[in-house]
């Protein structure tokens, strides 16, 4: 249990509601900043402003998935007020106070170093990336179904990258009956693709492999769908690029060639906010329980 642990939740979207639910069920003492427009109350949680919270009594701080901007402000779906994590405020927290963020940002890195407070990046964890791949797959499915006039079943589908997300995508598109071909630079991933029952090729062959492509799903955060590659792809193809911005596609050239190409960040929060929230809530609960158990021991 998290009894008597004081945790500040600063901003965020619908996903944080699952976090709040989970932590209150573990009996934590929560301060919610940036939730004034949320039409709901939670046992053991108070809606406050930053200046109403005594930093000295804070055990953990939970930021939104996106962390902060370069001035320390966080996204607040449920508030119009500015919510900021300042270096000064953080410096006043106890030494053991940890900050949890989805991703790291330059601002967070700086204040973390300056104040010697630990910042945990949840989305850098392999397990979180894999759990998140599940709603990401479903978002990809939806986008593909919406944006093509053929079925995924029996379509020629290329999946670029067989990392944590690519593996889930390849598995599901194969299960749906697509002719899946995985492109990777990595012999281990080539082997795994073969084991999973799909075709595989080395990325250096990409130009040749796209010739009969109908649907291409990119997960590689590097420019792989170059103009040279795109020039070999049928103009009727559909490209969905889920790699982090700016993606791995030469979108300007795709447009010129008449290929429909989309970059789709944030699929989990978009198609399954509740599940996406639970993923964060589960990992946070596990990490917090573990951390405080260790502290109690030492």
């Amino acid at each position: 249990m998290l009894t008597n642990r004081h945790i500040v939740i600063m901003g965020g979207d619908a996903r944080q509601i699952e976090v709040i639910n989970r932590l209150t069920s573990l009996d934590a003492h929560l301060s919610l900043v940036g939730f004034d427009q949320l039409d709901r109350n939670f046992n053991g949680a108070s809606k406050l402003n930053m200046d109403e919270i005594n930093a000295k009594e804070v055990d953990s701080i939970i930021l939104p998935v996106s962390g902060t901007d370069h001035e320390g402000n966080v996204e607040t779906t449920f508030s119009n007020k500015t919510v900021k994590l300042s270096k000064e405020w953080l410096a006043e927290t106890p030494e053991h106070c940890t900050v949890y963020s989805g991703i790291s940002t330059p601002y967070l890195n700086t204040i973390s170093e300056d104040t010697q407070r630990e910042v945990v990046k949840l989305f850098a964890r392999d397990d979180v990336a894999i759990y998140n791949s599940i709603p990401t797959v479903e978002g990809t499915l939806m986008m593909v179904i919406q944006n093509t006039d053929i079925t995924i079943h029996q379509a020629n589908v290329i999946v670029l990258g067989l990392g944590r997300t690519g593996m889930s995508i390849a598995r599901v598109f194969h299960a749906l009956g697509a002719n899946v071909k995985v492109g990777s630079r990595n012999p281990e991933q080539i082997a795994r693709a073969v084991e999973m029952g799909v075709k595989a090729f080395y990325l250096k062959e990409l130009e040749k492999e796209v010739e009969d492509n109908e649907i291409c799903i990119n997960t590689i955060p590097a420019l792989v769908l170059t103009s040279k590659v795109l020039s070999k792809m049928p103009a009727s193809s559909f490209i969905i690029d889920i790699a982090s911005l700016p993606g791995g596609t030469d979108f300007r050239y795709a447009k010129k060639r008449g290929i429909k190409a989309m970059i789709t960040p944030g699929l989990p929060g978009m198609v399954a906010p509740k599940t996406a929230g639970r993923i964060i809530a589960n990992v946070l609960a596990e990490l917090l329980l573990q951390k405080f158990a260790e502290e109690d021991e030492s």
Copy 2:
């Protein structure tokens, strides 16, 4: 090949374009009625009005998936003109002239009987129903992803009916990682569900089985989701009813109880018109080739 066979295609939507493509590639002689607004021409096919066609020289007539209305008019996505298959006109065709329609309608039954011309209902065929189940599944997937805030993965999903469409739905939702439970009245379907690796129950247990339901997909064309059943289902459930109109759900009661319930006819044409068209084109091609081969023999 269909060389020298005169086939009239009367109305329809984008799916008929696949039919036209396919039949022209088999060298048929096509008359297209109700395509005046279609911005495309086809080798061996002329856009005409009914009165420009000599019924005596027609070997086959292809109607839209929906057949005709009660006056004999057909849907025409690519025309504003009325296109009608009259009994008189049909009676003038050669005896061997066959009418192909997606479904049967009272009007078609009547003129078929009166003129002694065969009407083939493509969608009554098992193979067509199974092929059509593929885009239907993908449409269902899309609707479910759009209308829930959780993932299909690990959701509690009930599929009602394990017929031609239900089996495809159950297979795909299981592959996506849902906790699928199939409800059926038929011991054979119960056994097949078990073999496929999903749970199964007899419909008479439905009331009890819906208690922890999150997503319910109905394929049974009979009132199964009665108010009594719905009263046991969590209000946060999502129901998608794909059974033919009026579906198998007490929609009035669902609304009252706050359960989101949708009936979704025409999924294949909606999410994958090209594939849906090809399904029709493939079966039509096979049937026509077979028919004329038999005629030539006799």
Copy 3:
């Protein structure tokens, strides 16, 4: 419950032990004939000879899967004595007394007609055939793994027939990563194979389709793997014929051509006697409960 119902179990193998377990757990009164060498006792069940049982008091008779031979004798794995169901004895049972057998035999048909007692053939039921397809698949897997020097994964596998057993076989071999091709005469089965994600062809193309075959699994109880077909198949192929005797393979010719071909009856009892027994026990329990419930009502 089956309280006070007197059921005679005549002969059979390890599978009947599951039946005995199940029926005693339903409180039936059992007489076991042909189990003298079985080193185990059951509550509510007595080991007897036929002449120790009063036919007039028997509600149901359960025969082995194989029924009787042409003289009425049944297989008895757990006894050396002859156990026979005679017409005379059966005639003395009450009119409602039903005989349950795996399959029908000429002898059973005759005495059933003569005595007007119903004989239920469990293995003719669709649900039983589907449940039995599960251990059949696993037996087939084992035979194939043992008898080839390649993996099923990426092997060219032909499955003949997509009936109750063929569908389960095709599903599993596909899931294992084989290149599965289904041969059938039935357009509905062709469509289902395509939906399942495997290739499909009409049986009339069989000769052409076997040319690169590595593993062929036949489920069709008719001569389909003729010498003409086999002459086109690589000599290194492995054929497993699970269709009921005499199978669908020209074994003489296969041998001549050097193709390893096996007929494998009775796979479920061989590889999973316990599961095979439970399948029978479940259906028997369901049928008996239903029957006596109906009798009680009328």
Copy 4:
């Protein structure tokens, strides 16, 4: 191509025949040592003794999967003669001469260091381990089917470890309809198991999780199935331990408790020697082509 490359193949079993086939098809010049009893000849390959080969002209040496014993002798399925790779002989090869072995052995490590010749361990490569997991899975399937009286379908199956082999095992047993539960110490593997649609638990919960186990497959090369764990497992369970010797099971205790437990090394060569050979041949061909291409460039 490998034209004019002189490669010595020293000993090995049926798998080396696939290697020989592959390398001769790439036009390599092969010397086969330890194949005198093999009833077959290959174009471009001569059967020789070590002393007939001029070490100075050797570009690569291929050892069996098992490498050498502590004196440098290799396994020779196709010869009764002793075949030894001596330090002296190896020292005479050109500097670029590389030794390919399945695994490393103390003797190989020593002579590799002393002579400064590279030894490549094929089975330490991730891709090889994954390709090998495919026949390993099929061997595991066969052993489980042979050694249990229930079907894998609906059996309670625990898979310990979700590494390169465990993932393939979990995938296939899940596809066969088993109730698969994966045990791991690694949060990433727990997440992947969940994504794949199976249950997952942390190894520290193992004792509790085995209580209803029917089949347990261990891939962890560390003692995990301790006497304490085994004491909680039903005595009717079947354990197959595929981890490298001595496995991860307390076999002595398992026997005492009456649990059937087997350790099964070498499954790929046992159930699919041809595929196992091709896996080695493919990787060897890729490595050799790459190596000589690099040499030519420099």
